[in-house]
């Protein structure tokens, strides 16, 4: 809550002096993959975008379950209800494409938010985090913290999620680049629920806690549980790099049990994403020579900001995020759009 609040107040700075006053008929739906705390900032981001950019609507709409079909159903009902732009966290990097294509056919612009869909796609852009790259950077940070050598464990989410495979490969890549000093001793996957994550991560700590030097987590739940486990053990020897901004993880960073976390920028995603959708509905198109970045999944990627945060800047990362958001917004129209 605190976090959300500070992001919100920072938003005022973003838009001070903005010139977006005329109201448009753009109705943006911000659709996450399912109920999850990560996306909570989108709700406020949408509301602020309406206020600041004069959108018709920008509503945060959550599928009742983490389920691709449920998400599709929700999106379809939203379109039926008159929403004419959709920002979606893809329920599946491949499976979400079909519905985005159909929305495009119906004249509704869409974009992938927070995570990407794989190309070929009709999504106008992917604005968010390159999941693979984030895992890669996190691992790099971990290896640095370990002094370039040691044994690493990797905890991640559902195997059926293509992102999980990307993350496993990214971690392997970072380790390979570190030369022979670093070794992955175990990958534990399929722990996207708290109880099994608690069981398996603690079992790992019990069995290999003495051997392992570093832990990288690339999904929300494993990050929370692993941070909690290290805190409980009072272990500061094992270095850990987590993901996202769960309070448990942030507190553990402050207390020195976790080295750092790979933060994303959910508020900026929702805020700038809504803005971009309005622009596109207003007739803008993406430039052919826009400074896209390329990822393993798409070459129409715009980084919403992935920041590594450790104990030195855990209290101030909100400012860092704000800076990034400002930066992106400032040049967004000039860099990416033809209006």
């Amino acid at each position: 809550m605190k976090l959300l609040f500070s992001i919100v107040t920072s938003a005022a700075v973003l838009v001070s002096g903005s010139a977006f006053a005329d109201s448009s008929d753009t109705k943006v739906a911000l659709v996450p993959g399912g109920p999850h705390p990560y996306f909570a900032a989108w709700e406020r981001a949408g509301q602020d975008a309406v206020k600041d950019f004069g959108l018709g609507k920008a509503d945060y709409k959550v599928p009742a379950e983490w389920d691709l079909s449920q998400q599709n159903e929700l999106i379809e009902s939203l379109v039926g209800k008159g929403y004419n732009a959709v920002l979606v966290f893809p329920g599946d990097a491949v499976g979400t494409n079909k519905i985005l294509g159909e929305l495009d056919d119906a004249g509704i612009p869409t974009a992938a938010l927070a995570g990407c869909v794989e190309q070929p796609t009709k999504a106008k852009m992917c604005f968010g985090t390159d999941t693979g790259h984030s895992a890669y950077l996190g691992t790099k940070q971990l290896i640095d913290a370990m002094g370039g050598k040691g044994k690493i464990a990797h905890f991640t989410g559902f195997l059926v999620d293509p992102n999980t495979t990307l993350r496993i490969k990214a971690v392997e890549k970072a380790v390979a680049e570190a030369g022979g000093g670093v070794e992955i001793i175990q990958v534990i996957a399929d722990i996207d629920a708290y109880e099994p994550a608690d069981e398996k991560i603690n079992a790992f700590m019990a069995a290999q806690g003495g051997e392992v030097d570093g832990i990288v987590t690339t999904a929300w739940v494993p990050a929370v549980v692993a941070a909690q486990a290290l805190t409980n053990m009072g272990d500061k020897r094992i270095k850990m790099v987590g993901i996202d901004h769960d309070e448990v993880v942030l507190t553990a960073i402050k207390d020195g049990f976790v080295h750092g976390t790979m933060l994303q920028n959910p508020y900026g995603q929702g805020y700038i994403g809504s803005y971009a959708m309005d622009k596109i509905r207003g007739g803008c198109t993406f430039k052919a020579d826009a400074p896209w970045k390329a990822t393993a999944q798409t070459d129409q990627f715009i980084d919403s900001g992935t920041v590594f945060v450790d104990s030195s800047d855990v209290d101030t990362y909100v400012d860092a995020m704000r800076g990034i958001s400002l930066e992106i917004l400032k040049t967004f129209e000039d860099d990416f759009l033809d209006c």
Binding site: P35, H36, D190, E195, E199, A203, A206, A207
Partner: protein
């Protein structure tokens, strides 16, 4: 000794001992105090979850909403403490009452409508989980009081025994007494054996069914709160993953889904076996892609073993009857 052999749980006990020894020999770390602690912690709430399902299996029904009740209680418990600043004992009490109310609702609707509990609890699963999400909007409660957190982490003296496991041990003991030594418990088993006979005997089905569901809700509530103690946060996801393990342990313990045959000790050993296996999978660094297959094969194996035992017993009975 011969009497021991006939017990459902005897074979399971051997499995536990043999597999425990085998793992310990291959990986001595298995018997390290920390590992034993971890094992006991994970057993602590799984045991209660399994018992919450077991008592419904005893009366020949299923409770799909065990996890949803646990989740609802978990977030109510932590939410009360964080948002309403309610003291811990009061929050526990309210949590238990919510759990029992949910259970009562399941039992009452099942009895009064005569519709299968499977369907009723499928609907209430939606309702309880829906209230959970409606209240939390998927956001966890983080500010759990220190006493609760400490309880989740504390060990008894210098032993590797977690404080947490005291509750399940007491509950298991009470459940054993309940199922074996109290009239209501025996009436439940009788009801599970044959609803018609039980009613003719004069056992009140509404009393039996509602009591079983209330106990199930009560246990689910305890499990939900234990998970909060353990995770040190009240996340709305608690309970989502309970359904399969809640059935796996009683089934491995030889419970018959048609009702009337459950065993508290065998169910406990079933929990232990599942926990040992999932630990072994981590300890031996089994390829994550194999883990699912392994668990499935284990359940099938348990099924085959139970079947084989029954077959043996049947054969014995046949020989007796032809004498």
């Amino acid at each position: 000794m011969a009497a021991l052999f006939k017990k459902d749980w005897f074979g399971l006990l051997i499995v536990v001992i043999v597999s425990g020894l085998a793992i310990a020999v291959l990986k001595p770390a298995f018997l390290s105090p920390f590992n034993l602690y971890v094992l006991m912690v994970s057993i602590s709430y799984m045991l209660i979850i399994a018992l919450a399902q077991m008592i419904i299996i005893a009366i020949g029904q299923m409770n799909l909403s065990v996890g949803a009740i646990g989740g609802l209680v978990a977030i109510s418990f932590s939410g009360l403490m964080e948002v309403q600043q309610v003291s811990v004992p009061v929050a526990v009490l309210i949590g238990l009452i919510i759990g029992m109310l949910c259970g009562f609702l399941n039992g009452y609707i099942t009895v009064r409508s005569g519709i299968s509990a499977f369907i009723i609890t499928l609907a209430t699963l939606y309702i309880f989980k829906g209230i959970n999400l409606g209240i939390t909007e998927a956001e966890p409660f983080y500010n759990i009081p220190e006493t609760v957190k400490n309880f989740g982490n504390a060990k008894i003296g210098n032993t590797p025994i977690p404080f947490l496991i005291i509750i399940p041990i007491i509950i298991t003991f009470l459940m054993w007494i309940f199922m074996n030594r109290t009239e209501t418990g025996r009436h439940m088993l009788a009801y599970g054996n044959s609803v018609q006979s039980a009613e003719l005997i004069g056992i009140s089905s509404s009393k039996v069914v509602i009591t079983a569901h209330v106990i199930s809700g009560f246990l689910a509530a305890i499990a939900g709160m234990l998970v909060v103690c353990r995770l040190q946060l009240g996340t709305p996801n608690i309970g989502d993953s309970w359904l399969l393990p809640s059935f796996a342990a009683p089934v491995i313990g030889g419970a018959i889904l048609a009702g009337g045959k459950v065993d508290v000790i065998a169910t406990s050993l079933g929990v232990l076996i599942v926990a040992i296996i999932s630990q072994a999978l981590v300890i031996f660094k089994i390829d994550p892609f194999f883990v699912q297959i392994f668990l499935g094969v284990m359940i099938l194996l348990a099924v085959f073993v139970n079947r084989y035992r029954e077959y043996k017993q049947e054969a014995r009975r046949k020989i007796f009857s032809s004498e």
